[in-house]
């Protein structure tokens, strides 16, 4: 049986059991998100998909759709909250777009463009983080990790390897690699792993092809994320 809810006044059909995000994606409606990928169990951690459903703020990726629900997403106040979240993500890491190979193919940038963020004008934390170049094909740049846990979920659920994990809490939370040395090169991580293709930012980067596609001609250089979708769906454009 097809039921419906409304998203910013549009009628969205859904099957019982679908989340607000599932139904919106299926209907081609964009709700900003970074930690969500329909392949994996929703995590609800980035909070960018928070919408107002019947007046209550809920994460669209973890909240079931319900008949007659009135969902607001693209409103000035919700977009302003999203900009603040994005600004916090930017200042908590070291997101140096001009010096990042992922620039233009980066979903953090893309969502920030979509939400109208001109600058992360909070106090920059400039955390000191490691770079792991131990793997022959991939580099891990922890400076750019936003803790979306997509690589954690992909490696565990799709690749059955469990290469990645999150350790620590709060501001101390950080990505770790499942090896006694803590180095990616000492795991069975492989370029064909799903975990190698889901990072929305420049934290898990393939080596040797950083600028094969020049800056200015990349996925989000031309069109907004609301039209072209997640970077994980565009692997062919990046290799």
């Amino acid at each position: 049986m097809i039921e419906h809810f409304s998203l910013d006044g549009k009628r969205i059909p859904f099957q019982p059991g679908q989340t607000i995000m599932d139904a919106a994606m299926q209907a081609g409606e964009y709700i900003p998100h970074l930690c969500h990928n329909p392949e994996f169990r929703p995590r609800g951690s980035c909070r960018l998909c928070v919408v107002r459903a019947n007046g209550r703020s809920v994460a669209a990726c973890t909240s079931p759709a319900r008949e007659g629900l009135e969902v607001e997403s693209d409103t000035p106040d919700i977009q302003a909250d999203r900009r603040s979240l994005l600004q916090m993500l930017f200042v908590e890491g070291n997101h140096l777009c001009p010096a990042c190979e992922k620039s233009g193919n980066c979903q953090l940038q893309a969502v920030a463009y979509y939400c109208g963020m001109l600058a992360p004008d909070f106090t920059h934390l400039y955390p000191v983080r490691e770079l792991d170049g131990s793997h022959p094909d991939f580099v891990l740049d922890f400076n750019r990790c936003i803790l979306c846990e997509l690589c954690v979920r992909a490696s565990r659920d799709a690749d059955a390897k469990g290469v990645f994990g999150i350790s620590g809490r709060g501001i101390g939370a950080h990505l770790i690699v499942n090896a006694p040395s803590g180095k990616l090169g000492d795991t069975d991580f492989d370029p064909h792993d799903r975990a190698a293709q889901v990072c929305p930012v420049g934290a898990i980067l393939p080596k040797h092809k950083g600028y094969d596609v020049p800056i200015g001609r990349r996925i989000y250089d031309r069109k907004p994320v609301s039209l072209v979708g997640d970077v994980a769906d565009h692997q062919e454009d990046m290799s």
């Binding site: 930017f90 233009g104 001109l118 600058a119 004008d121 400039y126 250089d221």
Partner: protein, 183 residues
């Protein structure tokens, strides 16, 4: 004619810890520079070589804050300019110069002036005229209030032109999707 000239918007610009790339992008508006000089006159700027900023309507700041002189110049701009704009990635995030923030300052100086490749009889410059370096490079909004941000490395000439045109005509500042990029 005289009256029209008196109404010109006074613009001051400077590059702090930047590479002058944003200024190059301003010049890159090409023949629109002719339209621009009809609307504005320049106060302190690399274009005029005026050394001290005077009362201005608009201040364009390129580069982040890396030393004591940057702080002084930035504060003078804030005092003198009605509207202050952070232009480019370095003014907004610290940018490439802020990559030194991951290392203690003395390590950076040692690397450049003492242990660097090809350095002979090295020593850290200590002329009293040299501005003292800050421990870290900061975006300008951490030092003064900033009214507008123009991202990009550099912001495209079109973006700068759109911004100036809309601001000077009193319209709300709005950009097309492709005019805003952080790289």
């Amino acid at each position: 004619m005289r009256e029209q000239q008196a109404k010109k918007v006074r613009v001051a610009t400077c590059s702090l810890a930047g590479c002058f790339g944003c200024h190059m992008s301003l010049l890159d508006i090409d023949e629109r520079l002719i339209d621009l000089v009809e609307l504005v006159e320049f106060d302190r700027s690399p274009i005029t070589d005026i050394k001290e900023v005077g009362p201005s309507d608009l201040g364009l700041i390129e580069g982040g804050v890396c030393n004591a002189e940057n702080v002084e110049v930035l504060r003078a701009f804030r005092r003198q300019c009605k509207t202050l704009v952070a232009v480019g990635a370095c003014a907004i995030t610290g940018g490439v110069p802020a990559m030194r923030n991951h290392y203690p300052l003395h390590e950076c100086l040692d690397e450049a002036y003492v242990n660097g490749l090809g350095v002979q009889d090295g020593g850290i410059p200590n002329d009293p005229e040299l501005p003292l370096l800050l421990n870290q490079v900061h975006p300008i909004h951490e030092v003064v209030k900033v009214d507008y941000f123009l991202p990009g490395c550099p912001p495209a000439a079109d973006t700068i032109w759109t911004f100036l045109e809309q601001l000077l005509s009193g319209k709300p500042v709005e950009f097309a999707y492709r005019q805003i990029h952080y790289d």
